[in-house]
């Protein structure tokens, strides 16, 4: 049955963006297979609706902080995939000039203040970014996405408490894929989970099916609006599933095949496509969205693969102004 009041054009854009994220990560995994990506890659395949549904509700001048599993968030915020793949391959033209790689990808020009290699570390930084926005009397919003594993780190408590005490404009998003690296998070987490902990500190918290783009989108839109109106921080617990292993090199054999198959049946892109088809979009149009995304990322992949490595002297730039290193110390 068609969904009433469906914004077909918005959902089509979301479908395209989810395919762009999926194709970007598949290009990254191809880079891993070809040994072009030398470091770790943490794919978010299967989690695209959280990235698109949440980040799509931010303005360009809003701020985003992400995690080691942050390619999708970053692309959704508006980062250029050519630069992202160059960064993953450690090449000139990367967002960070090859200094960061996958886990430190950032694009300050679109308000993306960085993925982070330390679980939960972005939560207190996000609180501080929001603190600065409040001090400057701006109406920007900070969005901080972290995984379910992060709720067992101290900065989760410290950062949520800080944001609530100071009434800061932050949307905390717990992107719950069920696993803290290779450990089932539930087996290592006491109490009622992310939302219960957030509510215990006075934050308004909501839960959503993170593979349902319409649900994530409408929930995030409401929460961002409440925050921008001065309501203080909000918390969103989005349930999803990581279809890959923890890293591109992790076969994830600790999960029963039936569990993964069941999760795959609920993956967000196919669900979105089903809604679009129900609303009348043709199979050709749906296939075209996928093909366009894959072509875009193939082009970006080939360009990044051909890009040169940075000059070794770049290793000594952007360290610090006072007491900066030089080649003489090598």
């Amino acid at each position: 049955m068609p969904i009433p009041n469906l914004d077909l054009s918005r959902l089509r854009d979301q479908h395209r963006m989810m395919w762009r994220i999926r194709a970007l990560e598949e290009a990254a995994l191809r880079g891993l297979d070809e040994k072009i990506v030398l470091g770790a890659i943490h794919p978010s395949i299967g989690q695209e609706a959280v990235a698109v549904g949440v980040v799509g509700n931010l303005r360009r001048d809003d701020i985003l902080l992400s995690t080691h599993r942050g390619h999708g968030h970053t692309l959704a915020k508006g980062a250029n995939p050519d630069a992202m793949l160059c960064e993953l391959f450690g090449r000139i033209g990367g967002n960070c000039g090859g200094k960061g790689g996958s886990m430190h990808i950032a694009d300050f020009s679109v308000g993306m203040l960085g993925a982070n290699g330390v679980v939960g570390a972005n939560i207190v930084i996000a609180a501080g970014a929001a603190h600065a926005i409040k001090l400057k009397r701006e109406d920007r919003v900070v969005c901080c996405i972290f995984g379910d594993g992060a709720i067992n780190r101290g900065p989760f408590l410290e950062g949520l408490n800080w944001a609530q005490v100071f009434g800061l404009p932050v949307l905390f998003v717990c992107e719950d894929n069920g696993f803290a690296a290779t450990t089932r998070t539930a087996t290592m987490t006491a109490g009622g989970g992310p939302s219960v902990r957030a509510r215990a500190m006075g934050l308004m918290a909501e839960e959503v099916d993170g593979n349902d783009i319409l649900a994530v989108d409408s929930m995030a839109r409401r929460l961002v609006a409440e925050i921008r109106a001065g309501g203080g921080p909000r918390f969103l617990h989005a349930h999803t599933y990581r279809l890959t292993g923890h890293t591109g090199a992790d076969p994830a054999t600790y999960r029963p095949a039936a569990e993964v198959a069941a999760a795959r049946a609920l993956e967000p892109i196919a669900r979105t496509a089903a809604v679009l088809a129900e609303a009348g979009l043709s199979a050709d149009d749906l296939a075209a969205d996928r093909a366009a995304a894959e072509q875009e990322m193939l082009t970006a992949f080939l360009a990044a693969r051909a890009a040169p490595f940075p000059d070794p002297a770049v290793a000594f730039t952007d360290v610090q102004d006072a007491g900066a290193p030089s080649l003489e110390h090598v």
């Binding site: 701020i63 902080l65 990367g94 967002n95 960070c96 000039g97 090859g98 200094k99 960061g100 430190h104 950032a106 694009d107 300050f108 020009s109 203040l113 960085g114 982070n116 290699g117 330390v118 570390a121 939560i123 207190v124 930084i125 996000a126 609180a127 501080g128 970014a129 929001a130 603190h131 600065a132 926005i133 001090l135 400057k136 900070v142 101290g154 900065p155 410290e158 950062g159 408490n161 800080w162 005490v165 730039t317 952007d318 360290v319 610090q320 102004d321 006072a322 007491g323 290193p325």
Partner: protein
């Protein structure tokens, strides 16, 4: 020139910088009541509770929030209360503040100052007395400042607040009441410029923070014995003034480095090694034994580097040279 305490000099520096630059703000526990040592006394009245901000006892959040706020164009001055407590925020300082500019390829700066009152302060025991400056000097991206006088505490804090680098600013708790002349006006010192406290020709003594004053006592004793020691106050550990230290030690032929911190792995080792690589001199260093700092005065004093030990080490260098 005005007579001012080490504590008030820093307070004046912060107030002047906050008047000069509206993006400067301070955050830490108890700041609304002047801070644990009254370093912020009167500031909330002038600047209000947003710019002199209280904080929960959440070191990771205090420092981590400062990283985010610094990346968003403000200049936070973070109060850590005791340098020992800053260890609760090592990730935020070492993995985040120190590395953000580099790992994001220069897209951002992290212009924050972390004030960490350090050092031995009578009977404060093992968790409120440490001197960990060498740890920070080891971390690329950080500036490390250890002022020893009221004048320097004002001029260097101003420099730290204006710096676009994250600065670990280590004030010594024992020096809070120390009085000294402070230049009037907007006096700012560059990082990496040591001070020659006492000129001399027989040996070079390098120190920093409160230990400079203990060294000054030793230098006076040495002078009475006919030994003319040149005392250098390093002021900043990173960057450190290699040129001044190496030129002095090359001239005197004897180099003694003295610090309150544990000797093993202390910054004295870096200075000694650098001197050994570049000049011909007899070199010694003097730091604390590798033991925690005890509470009872005799236990505390057992790990304190005191003037007689400095005199003995200096005489050993001087006499050894004569024998050689």
């Amino acid at each position: 020139m005005a007579m001012m305490t080490y504590l008030d000099a820093a307070r004046a520096a912060l107030a002047e910088e906050m008047r000069r630059d509206p993006t400067v703000w301070a955050v830490g526990e108890d700041l609304g009541r002047g801070g644990v040592f009254s370093q912020y006394r009167g500031l909330v009245e002038e600047f209000g509770p947003e710019r002199i901000s209280d904080a929960p006892i959440s070191e990771a959040a205090i420092l981590g929030a400062a990283v985010g706020a610094a990346m968003m164009g403000t200049r936070p001055v973070v109060e850590m209360r005791f340098s020992d407590f800053a260890l609760c925020a090592v990730d935020e300082l070492v993995n985040q503040a120190a590395k953000a500019r580099y790992m994001f390829g220069g897209q951002t700066r992290v212009p924050l100052v972390v004030r960490e009152p350090m050092g031995m302060w009578r009977s404060s025991a093992a968790q409120h007395s440490q001197s960990l400056e060498a740890w920070y000097a080891h971390i690329p991206g950080l500036v490390v400042v250890c002022p020893s006088t009221p004048a320097d505490n004002k001029a260097l804090l101003k420099a730290a607040i204006r710096s676009d680098d994250p600065v670990v600013y280590l004030e010594h708790k024992h020096l809070w009441p120390l009085e000294g002349e402070v230049p009037d006006g907007d006096h700012v010192l560059p990082f990496g410029q040591a001070a020659i406290v006492t000129p001399g020709s027989d040996l070079t003594i390098v120190s920093w923070s409160a230990q400079v004053h203990v060294c000054a006592d030793a230098v006076a004793t040495l002078a009475r014995q006919g030994v003319k020691a040149e005392l250098i106050d390093l002021r900043t550990l990173w960057p450190w003034d290699k040129e001044t230290v190496l030129a002095s030690a090359a001239r005197t032929g004897r180099l003694l480095i003295v610090h309150e911190a544990v000797q093993a792995g202390g910054f004295g080792a870096e200075i000694a090694a650098t001197a050994a690589e570049h000049i011909t001199a007899r070199i010694r260093r003097l730091g604390a034994p590798r033991a925690p700092i005890g509470y009872a005065p005799p236990l505390e004093d057992a790990v304190r580097v005191q003037a007689p030990a400095i005199v003995a080490a200096a005489l050993g260098l001087v006499n050894g040279r004569q024998l050689g």
